[in-house]
């Protein structure tokens, strides 16, 4: 949490993250350039760099897309999630390097505007071929790459906390779901471009394996989330849902329950149980998967804190999450799915320690 904004809020963890990223990229690019230069000595330096940057950015995009579901499936991957934005910006920078070299090498220094050439160099090949429909064998692949770059550039340009603060976490996250569109466009760019002339089976197999791996990860994470969503309230009475028993809420940690299709986080501390909205105000992280630190519910993604009684962040911070009315009947916890007005205090229900 931070009141003031800086270009980059450096801390030890971020430095380690970025140093590791830099080292891995240098090794990968260096290995690729070395191997390719040895195997194809006739390749020019700009061609090597162009392909190296393309390959590195594509691999990095797969890593970025894998982090989300991995972190849902196993909390040990959470440290990769903390600074995923750095991966995204790096990936966009590599894509920009690739795009810049490609435009210079194939579209510049001619009599046509290079940007016009990128989009229309092969426009004459876009034909309607009866009876198969559009002549896909000559589909221009550059526009797919250009469109993907636009999406990645927009995401990189809005990756700073200033945009998160101004747009709000929900709009910001919806905007950054554009990464899936970028991925589809890049698949088309590579499939209708590089794979049309590259005859080795390695590349289509690798691309297909990347897609398959990401799909399986996302399906596994989706199945886990669906199981949680299906664990809906066990009974409803007087507008309250029976969501858990007191014994199911561990001391010092959160528990996520679902009431009326809404996820709520339950926390137990010093003999009382509290109910807060499950969504962190920072980036929508799952508050209920966090712990209690210094008396506050702490988001597992970036450590944002909220007081248990009223959902407010401790001063001087002003963020807050809604609280929910909770009632205890015997050992059962009954929850009002409707969130209370912002900042309303609920002292928590007493339970036996």
């Amino acid at each position: 949490m931070s009141l003031s904004l800086r270009a980059v809020d450096w801390n030890r963890q971020k430095r380690l993250y970025d140093l590791s990223l830099g080292a891995l990229l240098t090794l990968t690019l260096g290995a690729y350039l070395g191997v390719t230069a040895a195997v194809s000595p006739e390749s020019t330096a700009e061609t090597l760099l162009l392909r190296g940057a393309a390959g590195a950015s594509l691999v990095l995009l797969h890593v970025i897309l894998a982090i989300g579901p991995l972190a849902r499936l196993d909390p040990r991957f959470l440290p990769l999630l903390y600074n995923r934005r750095h991966l995204g910006v790096t990936m966009a920078a590599l894509a920009t390097l690739h795009a810049g070299l490609a435009v210079f090498q194939f579209h510049a220094l001619g009599d046509a505007n290079p940007w016009w050439s990128v989009l229309t160099a092969y426009a004459s090949d876009v034909r309607w071929a009866w009876p198969t429909g559009l002549n896909l064998a000559h589909l221009p692949f550059e526009p797919f790459g250009a469109a993907a770059w636009c999406v990645l550039a927009l995401m990189a340009a809005t990756s700073h906390d200033f945009w998160l603060r101004r747009l709000g976490a929900p709009v910001w996250k919806a905007l950054h779901c554009g990464v899936y569109l970028a991925y589809a466009l890049l698949l088309a760019h590579v499939a209708f471009g590089f794979l049309q002339s590259e005859r080795s089976a390695v590349f289509p197999v690798a691309l297909g394996a990347g897609w398959l791996g990401l799909t399986l990860l996302h399906l596994a994470a989706a199945a886990r989330e669906a199981r949680l969503d299906r664990s809906a309230a066990r009974a409803r009475e007087d507008g309250l849902d029976r969501v858990a028993t007191c014994a199911e809420v561990p001391e010092g940690e959160g528990k996520v329950v679902v009431a009326d299709g809404r996820r709520v986080a339950l926390f137990r501390r010093a003999g009382r149980i509290y109910a807060l909205a499950n969504v962190c105000r920072h980036q929508g992280g799952p508050l209920g998967e966090g712990r209690i630190v210094d008396g506050c519910a702490t988001c597992p993604w970036h450590g944002w804190n909220y007081r248990l009684e009223d959902g407010c962040s401790p001063p001087p911070f002003t963020e807050l999450v809604s609280t929910h009315r909770l009632r205890r009947l015997g050992e059962d916890l009954w929850l009002d799915p409707k969130p209370s007005p912002p900042g309303e205090v609920h002292p928590g229900v007493p339970v036996a320690s």
């Binding site: 700073h160 101004r166 929900p170 499939a191 297909g208």
Partner: protein
């Protein structure tokens, strides 16, 4: 004149034209925004350093229409709260739909692209027969 390439070129022309106008206006707006608007929209950034301003510059150029509205609201004492945006349930729905679309699009794109690949040209003898 073939219709499909002509339509394709027209779409490309409109897209490039729109991009050129948007980016030019964005650069012009960014100059004014960095000087006066940033502090209006976010008073905590009154003394923002050069590093932060540079980091924000690309986003200012791309999102200048929305920032212009925000700046005007700040100038007239209006509400600067971020928009409510989709609910967490709606975001999860969006996520699920995006991945279902990729589940279908991925093999479709790869399958079609590999299916329409032309066979490689036969190896050419060297030197060509005319030079032997």
């Amino acid at each position: 004149m073939d219709l499909v390439p002509a339509v394709y070129r027209a779409v490309a022309a409109v897209s490039l034209g729109f991009a050129a106008i948007h980016l030019t206006a964005g650069v012009a707006f960014a100059v004014a925004f960095q000087v006066r608007g940033l502090a209006s929209v976010d008073p905590t950034l009154r003394r923002a350093g050069l590093g932060l301003r540079l980091v924000l510059l690309p986003g200012v150029i791309l999102l200048w229409p929305w920032l212009a509205v925000l700046w005007r609201r700040a100038a007239t004492g209006g509400d600067l709260l971020p928009p409510a945006g989709p609910s967490p349930e709606r975001l999860r729905w969006l996520h699920r739909r995006a991945w279902w679309a990729l589940l279908i699009a991925g093999p479709l794109i790869l399958g079609v692209a590999l299916g329409v690949r032309r066979p490689p040209p036969p190896p050419q003898p060297w030197p060509p027969s005319a030079l032997r």
